[in-house]
């Protein structure tokens, strides 16, 4: 079990800085997710931990051992890490057993021990009966589990996963998500998981690091970053959110775009603000604070995705699916809001939300 300490790590390819002064400690046994849009630098960070990339500056410790920094550089094979690649990287010329046994064979473990360990780990990933198969005889999900088994077989202190589920279909992705989490909990190892899928991150992580343009935007538990985003980018990237421009004064926020209607506000900000509200936090209520007209509904089964015109603004409301039959287009409605997120309006919203690729 290992902790990872990252001290001021910066990585640049030529003039292109992909990672800016990363500072963090991943605690022993934690499930860490590096989340962000593609090109944000999350994979680079993972590859620095693995030892496939040398950081331009900064230091990296695994437990208390300096593995990268100054003149020290421990090559990947000396770091005792398990890793699952996006393309699985299952060697096509070896069968499942040999693929999985490889890390142990490299460590010159006794044959019997290798057999026992491989069988055990294949049991963990539900592949016991496939040991003699070759990768081209396996499905994508099975290959993915071979890669996972190979990463786990030598009981690594640290497991790195680079978008391991992105090549799987939706159903399989969901079940693998919980399997990986289950295995991690069982073995109690530290996991660093890279993904651009926020649902995956939310479902599995102890802590999420949301990265954009090489900078960590926020880190915290899924609840923390979902409910109290540090900035508009975080709010926008995780879940659905709508932004409304308004002005805060006298305990209320007035929205010019909604014909001057307002909502109560007890927070500290004053003047021009950006209010971010998640559609599921706007609801139909008799004693609501905003009035408007129901314009459209999109019935999705579990939820009903509605559009309500409030002044000149179209507000998205996600309500329970069973409310569908109570509602009718063209009717006036009143809306209540909860859990609003208020940011200073610095006029940079567009730029902040744009994703650099």
């Amino acid at each position: 079990m290992a902790a990872v300490t990252i001290k001021n790590i910066t990585k640049a390819f030529g003039d292109n800085v992909v990672l800016k002064s990363f500072n963090e400690t991943f605690k022993d046994g934690e499930f860490i997710t590096l989340l962000g849009p593609s090109g944000c630098g999350k994979t680079t960070m993972l590859r620095i931990i693995a030892g496939f990339e040398k950081p331009t500056s900064g230091e990296l410790y695994i437990d208390d051992r300096l593995v990268s920094g100054g003149k020290t550089f421990v090559p990947p094979e000396k770091r005792s890490i398990g890793m699952v690649f996006q393309s699985y990287a299952v060697w096509p010329h070896m069968n499942v057993f040999d693929n999985v046994a490889y890390p142990l064979a490299i460590r010159k473990a006794p044959k019997a021990e290798i057999r026992a360990s491989v069988e055990k780990v294949l049991g963990v990933v539900h592949l016991s009966q496939y040991a003699d198969r070759f990768p081209n005889q396996l499905s994508g999900g099975q290959q993915q589990r071979v890669a996972l088994a190979r990463a786990l077989v030598a009981a690594p202190k640290l497991l790195l996963l680079d978008e391991p589920l992105s090549n799987l279909d939706a159903k399989l992705r969901e079940s693998m998500r919980f399997e990986i989490k289950e295995i991690q909990r069982e073995l109690g190892i530290t996991v660093v998981y890279v993904t651009h899928d926020q649902t995956e991150a939310m479902a599995m992580s102890d802590r999420i690091f949301l990265i954009n343009r090489g900078v960590v935007q926020q880190s915290g538990t899924p609840q923390e970053i979902y409910n109290t985003p540090a900035n508009q980018f975080v709010a926008d990237f995780l879940g659905k959110v709508d932004f409304f421009k308004g002005e805060a004064k006298d305990g209320r926020i007035v929205f010019p775009g909604m014909g001057g209607q307002s909502i109560p506000y007890g927070g500290p900000r004053t003047g021009k603000v950006e209010v971010a509200i998640r559609p599921e936090n706007i609801f139909f209520a008799e004693d609501g604070v905003l009035t408007g007209t129901l314009e459209a509904q999109y019935y999705l089964g579990d939820v009903d995705d509605c559009r309500v015109r409030v002044g000149d603004t179209l507000v998205r409301v996600i309500t329970n699916g069973w409310e569908y039959k109570k509602l009718a287009n063209g009717r006036p409605v009143t809306l209540g809001v909860r859990d609003i997120m208020v940011f200073e309006d610095d006029g940079l919203l567009e730029q902040m939300l744009s994703i650099q690729t």
């Binding site: 990947p76 094979e77 690649f85 060697w91 010329h93 460590r107 190979r150």
Partner: protein, 831 residues
């Protein structure tokens, strides 16, 4: 309502297509039958060439014209008595002329005339006599003809009447012009001559008749057969169609077979596709397939048949005779030993080089890569010449140095290039790039995460190399090795320059020697060639069919950045080793070629007094002969490359953009062609393209261009195919959705995108065709010599320094073209 009333229209396309296919097949069958009948007719005729029928047909036409316009009217103008006498004389003359040709033919003549009476009989006799007189009558010299032609038109009628009267009346006075020719003759001789003068003096006896008569004389040698020819021409027995069929009977059979094959192939394709809607693309496929069947497969099959059925019965006699002859057996052994050793040496060199250059941070790796690829482009015989200069036991530069360095005596040695090991050394140093290119391509395309997974599992870079990289590379490694093997085994340039003087024969040199020995030699050469051919096809099968299935690295065109291994403290020493290798294998040989070209005495240093001259260069490049060869090479290689690249582009489109059944057939044939050893291709063409199968392109430029295309077309095709595979279909589809037609899309989108590769493909066919030697040696004629062959001649018969000057000139061209090629493809091209 009206629409509902109309019954649904049946689509008639399937029926139409089936009918056309059936008709095509029947047409083919009919042409075959016609061709066969023609061949039968010809072989029964005793004529020495099918062209006789064409001459007979044309002569028949001339006889008709002459009789109708001149001879007939002049005969009819005679009074009855003279006419009867003339006819009788004509018969007598004819009968004796025929009897003179062949004993007993008088009876044939009578049988021919039997039942004919009066005017009809007379006309036939006259026409027959006219024809035979033209071909085998008494001679009228050119001077006399001129004199006859000088008779004024007004006097001609009188002249001719006088002649005819003189034929039957020996006492009659002769006109002056005839008197000179027939004045001293008597009896039948006089009559025959007078008739001949009569014929000749008619102005229908023009140059066209003379031409047909000359052809007839050439094509019908047999005296008896000549009578048949007279008869056929006089009676107009050969119709236009018939002369066409008989004189082209072999070609007709060939065309018929192709038509039938095409019809069957098309039917099979359509059955497989479950559609009866014709697709224009199939026609293109069939045209390419027909070309390859004709010029590639047929020669190979013919050679196989000839080798196993030498006298149209199965026999291994050819092989027994060949391989019990120790020289051939040695050649066989030498070829196998040399090729195997070259394969091992070449691959052992190529793999580490490919790894160092492709996957490590070796200094100057890009430079080295370009350099090793360049060697692939250099004609092997240039390498042979260089190593000969370096390792000649007497005056080789290296030997001279070694003697000085180790204070050896002046005896020849210590190294001798004229040996089997010498040949292996030169072969290896020129064929390792084949393995290098194959391996480094695969290596650079390998997904780096496969190796990273090994590193993270705890394996060191070296361990990873041996447990992951090497096993993954194995299929490419083996196919690279096999490519080296088959190239070395079928190489002619190096063994002919190094092996032959040292009496180290190989299969290829034996084949070329046999070919120069005439018909029996040609048969023996076939026996040797079959061995080489079977070897090559076997290897092609192993690497393209068996190994391809185990190919882990799919060259998808997806460009991956391979992980670079840091060599750390090994970086400098390894760079030094690679540099030394490059100096020994590339720099020294090429420099030797250059310095030799300035020498007078090849055994002495260029810098010795009075041993430096520019005259070699002046002589070589000043000669008209060299310039002609250069022009030939340029022309043939350009034509081969241009036609080849058109085929390559078509094939690439079919392979990459269609799911059409049958598109793999031409692809397979093209691959087979490039895998066939050069000498085998050339020998096959020699044996089948000299008219015996209806195509006669022997000793022409066409045969060479076709040979170049068969051998090198695949390189162009592979390049264009891989370029096209990298262009996503969506690029073309978006152009089409924007309203551009297929053709416009090809010109505006696909064309410009793959243009560099098309140009590169062109050069890849052009370069080897330009300096080709092995096939040219067998196929050249005195007017179609190429620069490669000229160089070889200079080397063997004239002067080594001069040929070195030429070789260096070729080297410069190759380096320059290679530079263009690299710019076009960014160093990535397939072999």
């Amino acid at each position: 309502m009206k629409d509902a009333m109309t019954p649904p229209r049946r689509d008639r396309t399937p029926i139409l297509t089936k009918t056309i296919l059936a008709l095509l097949f029947l047409l083919g069958a009919a042409v075959i039958v016609m061709g066969c009948t023609g061949m039968k007719e010809y072989s029964a005729s005793g004529f020495s060439s099918e062209a006789a029928y064409r001459a007979i047909y044309k002569l028949g036409g001339e006889v008709d014209a002459a009789w109708d316009k001149k001879l007939g009217p002049q005969c009819k103008a005679l009074d009855a008595e003279s006419r009867a006498a003339l006819d009788e004389t004509a018969y007598t003359l004819l009968r004796s002329a025929w009897e003179a040709q062949k004993k007993g033919s008088g009876a044939e003549l009578d049988a021919l005339l039997d039942g004919k009476e009066g005017e009809a009989r007379a006309e036939l006799v006259h026409r027959l006599l006219f024809t035979s007189s033209l071909v085998s009558g008494p001679k009228v010299g050119t001077a006399n003809r001129k004199e006859l032609a000088a008779i004024p038109a007004s006097g001609l009628d009188g002249f001719r009447r006088q002649l005819l009267e003189a034929v039957t009346d020996e006492g009659a006075a002769l006109p002056e012009a005839a008197g000179k020719l027939a004045g001293k003759l008597t009896g039948q001789e006089r009559q025959a001559m007078l008739m001949q003068i009569w014929y000749v003096s008619n102005d229908s006896m023009n140059s066209r008749i003379t031409e047909q008569v000359n052809t007839l004389k050439k094509t019908v040698r047999d005296k008896g057969a000549q009578l048949d020819a007279f008869r056929m021409a006089a009676r107009g027995e050969v119709s236009f169609i018939w002369q066409l069929v008989v004189s082209n009977s072999r070609s007709a059979v060939l065309i018929g077979i192709l038509l039938c094959l095409d019809a069957v192939l098309l039917t099979l394709l359509m059955l497989g596709e479950r559609t009866w809607i014709p697709d224009f693309k199939w026609i293109i496929i069939l045209v390419i397939v027909d070309f390859l069947l004709l010029f590639q497969l047929m020669p190979l099959v013919y050679m196989l048949i000839k080798a196993f059925f030498p006298d149209s019965a199965f026999s291994l006699e050819t092989f027994r005779r060949l391989y019990t002859y120790s020289l051939n057996l040695d050649a066989l052994k030498n070829t196998l030993i040399a090729a195997s050793a070259t394969m091992v040496l070449g691959t052992l060199t190529a793999f580490p080089l490919a790894w160092l250059v492709g996957r490590t941070n070796l200094y100057g790796r890009r430079f080295f890569r370009a350099l090793f690829v360049l060697t692939y482009m250099v004609p092997p015989y240039v390498g042979a010449m260089a190593w000969l200069r370096l390792l000649n036991p007497n005056v080789g530069t290296v030997n001279q140095w070694l003697r000085v360095l180790f204070h050896l005596s002046d005896a020849p040695g210590p190294l001798n290039v004229y040996t089997l090991p010498g040949m292996i050394w030169v072969l290896s140093s020129f064929y390792y790039p084949y393995a290098f290119i194959t391996i480094s391509r695969a290596m650079e395309k390998m997904d780096p995460s496969l190796e990273e997974a090994s590193r993270i599992s705890g394996a060191s870079p070296l361990k990873t190399l041996f447990t992951v990289t090497l096993p993954m590379m194995m299929p490419s490694l083996i196919s690279g090795a096999l490519l080296v093997f088959v190239s070395a085994a079928s190489c002619y340039g190096i063994p002919s320059i190094i092996g032959s003087p040292g009496r180290v024969h190989t299969v290829t040199t034996r084949i070329v020697e046999y070919v120069s020995l005439g018909q029996q030699g040609l048969n023996d050469a076939t026996g040797m060639a079959v061995f080489l051919m079977v070897l090559a096809i076997l290897i092609l099968f192993i690497s393209d069919v068996l190994l391809a299935k185990r190919q882990y690295i799919t060259v998808s065109g997806k460009s991956v950045q391979p992980a670079i291994v840091h060599l750390r403290k090994w970086r400098v020493p390894l760079t030094v080793i690679v540099s030394l290798f490059a100096v020994v294998v590339i720099v020294i040989p090429f420099a030797t070629i250059l310095t030799t070209s300035f020498k007078i005495d090849v055994g002495k240093s260029m810098f010795r007094a009075n041993n430096f001259t520019l005259s070699n260069w002046k002589t070589v490049f000043g000669r008209i002969e060299t310039l002609n060869c250069f022009k030939n090479s340029l022309l043939y290689a350009s034509v081969a490359a241009t036609v080849g690249i058109v085929v390559a582009c078509t094939m690439s489109y079919l392979l990459q953009r269609t799911r059409l059944r049958g598109r793999k057939i031409p692809d397979f044939l093209i691959t087979l062609g490039s895998g066939t050893p050069s000498v085998v291709i050339a020998l096959g063409l020699i044996m089948t393209m000299k008219g015996n199968f209806g195509i006669n392109i022997y000793n022409t430029a066409y045969i060479m261009i076709i040979a170049y295309m068969i051998k090198y077309m695949m390189m162009g095709m592979r390049t264009v195919v891989s370029a096209m595979s990298q262009i996503h279909v969506s690029l073309e589809e978006s152009s089409q959705i924007s309203g551009a037609s297929w053709l416009r899309t090809m010109f505006r989108v696909t064309g410009p995108l793959i243009f560099p590769s098309i140009a590169a493909g062109w050069f890849l066919i052009f370069i080897p065709s330009f300096y080709e030697l092995s096939m040219t040696t067998l196929l050249y004629s005195s007017t179609t010599k190429t620069i490669g062959f000229q160089l070889y001649e200079y080397w063997t018969f004239t002067s080594q320094p001069m040929s070195c000057a030429m070789a260096f000139g070729i080297l410069l061209i190759v380096v320059f073209l290679n530079f263009i090629l690299n710019r076009l493809t960014k160093g990535e091209f397939s072999i």
